[in-house]
Subunit: 495 residues, 2 copies
Amino acid sequence: MTSAYQHLTTTFQRLARFSHLSAIAGWDMQTMMPSAGSRARGEALAELSVLQHQILTSADVSSWLNEAEQETLNDVECANLFEMRRSWQQASLLPASLVEAKSIAGSRCEHAWRKQRPANDWKGFSANLKEVVKLSRQEAEIRAQANGCSRYDALLDIFEPGMTSAKLDRTFGDLKHWLPDLLQRVAAHQAQGHIERPVGPFAVESQRQLGLSIMKQLGFDFNAGRLDVSAHPFCGGVPEDVRITTRYNNNEFLSAMMGVIHETGHARYEQNLPKQWLGQPVSLARSTAIHESQSLFFEMQLARSADFLQLILPQVVAQFGAQPALNLDNFIRLNQQVKPGFIRVDADEVSYPAHVILRYEIERALISGDIEVDDIPTIWQEKMQDYLGIDTRGNYRDGCMQDIHWTDGAFGYFPTYTLGAMYAAQLFQAVKRALPNIESQIREGNLQPIFDWLQQNIWQHGCRFSTQQLITHATGEDLNPVFFRQHLEKRYLNQ
Amino acid sequence: MTSAYQHLTTTFQRLARFSHLSAIAGWDMQTMMPSAGSRARGEALAELSVLQHQILTSADVSSWLNEAEQETLNDVECANLFEMRRSWQQASLLPASLVEAKSIAGSRCEHAWRKQRPANDWKGFSANLKEVVKLSRQEAEIRAQANGCSRYDALLDIFEPGMTSAKLDRTFGDLKHWLPDLLQRVAAHQAQGHIERPVGPFAVESQRQLGLSIMKQLGFDFNAGRLDVSAHPFCGGVPEDVRITTRYNNNEFLSAMMGVIHETGHARYEQNLPKQWLGQPVSLARSTAIHESQSLFFEMQLARSADFLQLILPQVVAQFGAQPALNLDNFIRLNQQVKPGFIRVDADEVSYPAHVILRYEIERALISGDIEVDDIPTIWQEKMQDYLGIDTRGNYRDGCMQDIHWTDGAFGYFPTYTLGAMYAAQLFQAVKRALPNIESQIREGNLQPIFDWLQQNIWQHGCRFSTQQLITHATGEDLNPVFFRQHLEKRYLNQ
């Protein structure tokens, strides 16, 4: 007789196959699709999404979940069942009317934002955003009651299971305590050296070749993935066929280069998720923050280190030819420059956490009801001044209107960026303890021991363990921001 | 109250959205997907195909079809209902066990063929083919009983609704009567002139630019489609976003150029199917032969004419530079050269029908049971000798093993190539009657009147009319091979 658990694995396998098609069609939409295909594609993807929701929330799945709790399962199967229930609950909790209303309000707000942002039109934008916030609060309220937690924590849990605002307040509180001072000391430290900018143009095809060559060095499996171009870089596709993207600027190659390295970190995680469980929820990546920890491990911990920059500089020179800016010292300074600015996505790793903490504090207050949409610009202005010393008055475009996340109601996502950065520093520190000669090996291009360590400690586990278990097992302790601080002080102050 | 017909339109709209996703994922598989993605993609597409089959053959659809027959529908709705019933019947007739057995036998035969063909391994291939033929005969028998026709006619009807072997025997019989003699006269006629071959290499990027430039001239809408590369050229995607492909050979550019023109013919049909009915069966192309008539109208009737070749020669020279082979007379001779050979896909338009008639005669006898798989090589050899004067003894690779069609049981497809060529000639003749100055307009690049005529007479109708109605309405009579003969005699013998 087929067990309830077996029925569930068959159903989730089927759902994964449909997700495969929506992942590829979604990738195509961002990279290949001509404009006139947009409406039909949107309708096709929505139809599939309705189907997946129907399958997941069917009465069968609900009773199998209950029956399976009584069946004898091994550890992995238990973890798989846990994730299945989590998916089912995420999908079943909200009434269809709320899901639809939020989707419509989010699409409208995002669509209008694409024109309102360049026009600096806060008034127009805030009207749409109020509707999104209203519906997100309703969503948060329903989830909070089901989870027995606060509204904001219920949203946080979607992206980062197990994370709470109490825990965030501790870690981010620690960061806030030393970050502004660190930033000032780094500014003073870097004020002494002159940085030479590389002189372009940098042919797109050469930038692409450089990206491919570094991806190869970083172990990207080209039999199971591709590099393409999109307006907003991302890592998509499926574990068997990972699609990363970048965008090129003819006058500047470092952004695309570091962007490719960042997405390669995401990609290697995906490509090395446990093959034997693919198609089941337990095979998926642990969480948004752990995913980001892999991209930031590759980009920030590894690739912006002097050792790695020394390793790849010859590849850079091979593509663009020698020039004064491409001597090793200057190349390192270029990639380690700290310069607080308006825009989160352009921020260096020292100022980045300030951008995130600011957003976290605002969105948490917004969801709890402590502030309203109209309060955002003033609070934004105050916090940018406090944390980064930047004046954003009247500049909504490069201030509180710069991100896409809030437009479609993805409240609870921002903290994962900085959690990822902290996990990455903690993991890299553990790698250094496990591999004492790793710095010289990086300079020699022998990166395999690092990949083996990540494979062993992170990639192969999918989401079998909780984030806390995973990180404790890999590093000997739960999340600890001290490693991030030490990393920044070492890299930027030579301490 | 929702009518049965409305229920059907909603259901077929939903099926069309799923077909959209499978079309794009299928295109991706041929153009973008790295090798390791193959298995997961195959499983995902199969899962969607099972779902579509379930929806189409559900009890609801069956009863709505019956109820809708009693409802008051306009002409277009009647045609749509007719096509819905046809889809439903195609999907419902066969037992699932036969569909699965044929799919497995077909995949196995095709997969093995990819290695058996280069190895000239007829013995190994024929063992697999026998299983495919056995199952195809079973399929044909079931369809024949349902349609009240012969086995072969039942398969023909899948690709070319309304076509029968009796009608094919008349038209192909006519062709067979005059084609061998025409071929000999053309050979004698062309023996006099020397043809200079263009000297390469021809950079792939230049070939691509040439293709894009001709596609533009031919009215391809780049907001609703793309040109990419695949091992086997095809026209895929969806009407809102048509994806054509080609393949490039560094040493020779004419094949890719004419291939792009051919697929552009398919693409313009797809891009101009009736927008107001998209998502419904009546919006789809009429049939395989009518689709091929559009590609051959573009490639053979239009693009290989002296007028069109004169129009595009400057674009060719702009890409590759001037050289002796690229003077107008030689360029025309290159594109109008007749040279019987082993391979169907490489054949010129004069010898092509011989390849098709040979296959038609063999596959019809195979399905009816008049011959067996073991008889194929001898019959192939005799007919190649008779029709084209070519000796294929012992050469299975370039003989009866050259095509993919039979490997997965697509019996009944081959005739549509030559039907397409005949329809194309008949349509072009009608265009010339309607547009007396069209030859000079082609030389001047004013192709819009031709596109308008095709839009008016073919594209905008989808499959609202039967092939016979469509072609009679467009040209004043049903299929008549005399136009094809006149076209060949005029182009190749100046008669």
